[in-house]
């Protein structure tokens, strides 16, 4: 599967010439980005490069000023956020974002909200408990009482509940101890092996490029580089700016 050239594979997410921002302030200036079936694509860039803004436009949290966002070929221009989530995008928001007062089980169920009534929800929940046994142990506990790492597992599990076509992870390493980050990224690699399609937004370029198949480098609202992850990690610009000199 890795010898197929990426472009010949089906694009799950296809962003073309996307321009967006807040009010009249344009933050993203014409970005192209593709995520193909079964790959992990990372979007790296410094704080303030526009990563979160780009994601917000993809999920419909802010309007698109120019360009297109397509999911499996379907133009999402007229779909609001709830409709886009319903069409198969799941988001793990920045800074964790558990529903703190709801139980772990209810958090997972809410991940399946857009698939409520689907006969496989219980099965999916059992699968997530098997993936993260600690969540099963704490299923009746309020999500806000979990540790940072457990909360990150919970939101990833929650995002998987809807069996999404595209999983967007926004800064999963944010605020976690290095050891926990390692275990979260091991989980993310496992997601690809299970056939998921992932768009990984990360400030931590080193670890993102390690798990990703391909990557985009965003700076001041433009993609300045893109390509296979190995090539990006050897690129001098990337090495100098985003990986330290290591």
């Amino acid at each position: 599967m890795h010898d197929t050239t990426p472009l010949s594979r089906l694009a799950v997410l296809d962003v073309q010439g996307l321009t967006c921002g807040y009010g009249r302030t344009e933050i993203i200036h014409g970005v192209d980005l593709r995520v193909h079936q079964g790959e992990i694509v990372c979007l790296i860039g410094n704080n303030g490069a526009g990563k979160s803004t780009l994601i917000k436009a993809v999920i419909g949290a802010i309007p698109t000023l120019k360009g297109q966002v397509r999911l499996r070929g379907e133009d999402l221009a007229r779909q609001d956020m709830a409709a886009r989530i319903g069409r198969g995008i799941a988001v793990v928001p920045e800074g964790r974002g558990v529903l703190a007062q709801l139980s772990v089980a209810d958090n997972l169920l809410m991940g399946g909200y857009v698939r409520r009534g689907a006969p496989w929800l219980d099965e999916e929940m059992a699968r997530i408990y098997a993936l993260f046994p600690i969540l099963a142990e704490r299923r009746h506990q309020a999500a806000g009482t979990l540790s940072g790492g457990e909360q990150q597992m919970l939101v990833i599990g929650r995002a998987l509940m809807s069996r999404p076509d595209l999983l967007i992870l926004d800064e999963p390493s944010f605020g976690l101890a290095p050891k926990i980050v390692e275990s979260i990224f091991a989980v993310i690699e496992g997601l690809r092996d299970a056939g998921n399609t992932v768009l990984l937004v990360e400030q931590n370029a080193r670890i993102a490029l390690r798990v990703a198949d391909r990557g985009y480098v965003l700076a001041s609202g433009r993609t300045i580089l893109d390509g296979p992850a190995e090539r990006l990690s050897e690129d001098t610009t990337v090495r100098d700016i985003y990986l330290g000199s290591g």
Binding site: I59, A61, M81, A82, I85, G86, V91, P93, G97, V98, L99, A100, Q101, L102, D106, L109, M110, G111, Y113, V114, R116, R158, S162
Partner: protein
């Protein structure tokens, strides 16, 4: 003992009404985070619809059904007209819009139904006095009072099941917890807000009919006093807490009835509010409140 038990039963009846109104308030505050003062007007719509149904059919269940459904629809109108257009704005704005629409509703009722004169529910089945003997003590209870307790119990259980076990309830709790995250899970926050107001209004409508069954008469402003007390009950039980609102409502009813029974009827409100000030002094988050509520 005789007085205590009798007043205890009376207190539960009064408290049940507070609980129904307070539960709706706490849902609305929890989910929409607005100052909402149209609840009394919605309640009165339920009370009048119940009155018409009872006049027409003589059936208490039909009166309850019409009052509940009618109030829920009224609540949807209030949400659409007075809350949605000002969503996200300063709390004072929703205060003004909800008081305004409440006044429009109450004045419309005043001008259109018997010039706002107090009207009594047809005394029939509801006024029948039941006597219960409990080890030598005789307790008096009207059918109306019994209806209040039974219906409140059924509604509180139904609401608890709705909130805890259904997708609608789960989405309501998710929005109350964090609307931004709920939206990212595909929840339409506006629709959930409207559903929440409808559910709360249905409970207020039922409370209106029950009030009609127990009070000597109703008028378009009969809900005002209740709304104020329910508001206090909501803080006292813990803002956003359904069990807290039920417990707070029942406690307030009991304190009032016991104060009226042992002291004097006119001391009722003094004791009720003194008890609330005391509890809030020692437990600022309310009886069952978990933490300070303001979230910016």
């Amino acid at each position: 003992m005789q007085i205590f038990l009798q007043q205890f039963v009376n207190g539960l009846t009064i408290g049940a009404g507070y609980a129904l109104v307070a539960v709706g308030f706490t849902l609305i505050f929890g989910v929409l985070r607005v100052v909402y003062l149209a609840h009394s007007a919605v309640l009165v719509v339920g009370a009048y619809l119940g009155l018409f149904a009872l006049d027409w059919s003589g059936s208490i269940p039909l009166a309850l059904a019409l009052g509940t459904v009618g109030a829920a629809l009224m609540g949807l109108v209030v949400e659409r007209v007075a809350l949605r257009p000002v969503a996200g704005q300063n709390h004072l704005i929703s205060l003004v819009t909800t008081v305004s629409i409440a006044t429009v509703i109450q004045e419309t009722l005043r001008l259109s139904v018997q010039h706002g004169q107090p009207i009594s529910y047809p005394t029939g089945a509801a006024a029948v006095l039941l006597r219960f003997h409990l080890g030598g003590i005789e307790l008096h209870l009207t059918v109306g009072q019994l209806a209040v307790m039974v219906v409140t119990l059924v509604l509180v259980v139904a609401l608890t099941l709705l909130v805890q076990r259904t997708w609608m309830g789960r989405s309501i709790r998710a929005v109350a917890d964090n609307p931004t995250i709920a939206a990212m899970l595909g929840v339409r926050v506006k629709a959930v807000s409207a559903q929440t107001v409808a559910v709360a209004s249905a409970l207020a409508g039922a409370a209106g009919v029950l009030l009609g069954l127990t009070l000597p008469a109703i008028d378009p402003y009969v809900g005002e006093h209740l709304q104020f007390k329910a508001l206090a009950v909501v803080l006292f039980g813990g803002l956003g807490s359904v069990p807290g609102a039920v417990l707070g409502g029942l406690l307030l009813g009991l304190v009032e009835a016991l104060a009226a029974g042992y002291l004097e009827t006119s001391y009722r409100d003094l004791f009720a509010f003194a008890a609330m000030v005391l509890i809030l002094t020692f437990r600022p988050a309310g009886l069952l409140g978990r933490r300070p509520v303001e979230r910016v």
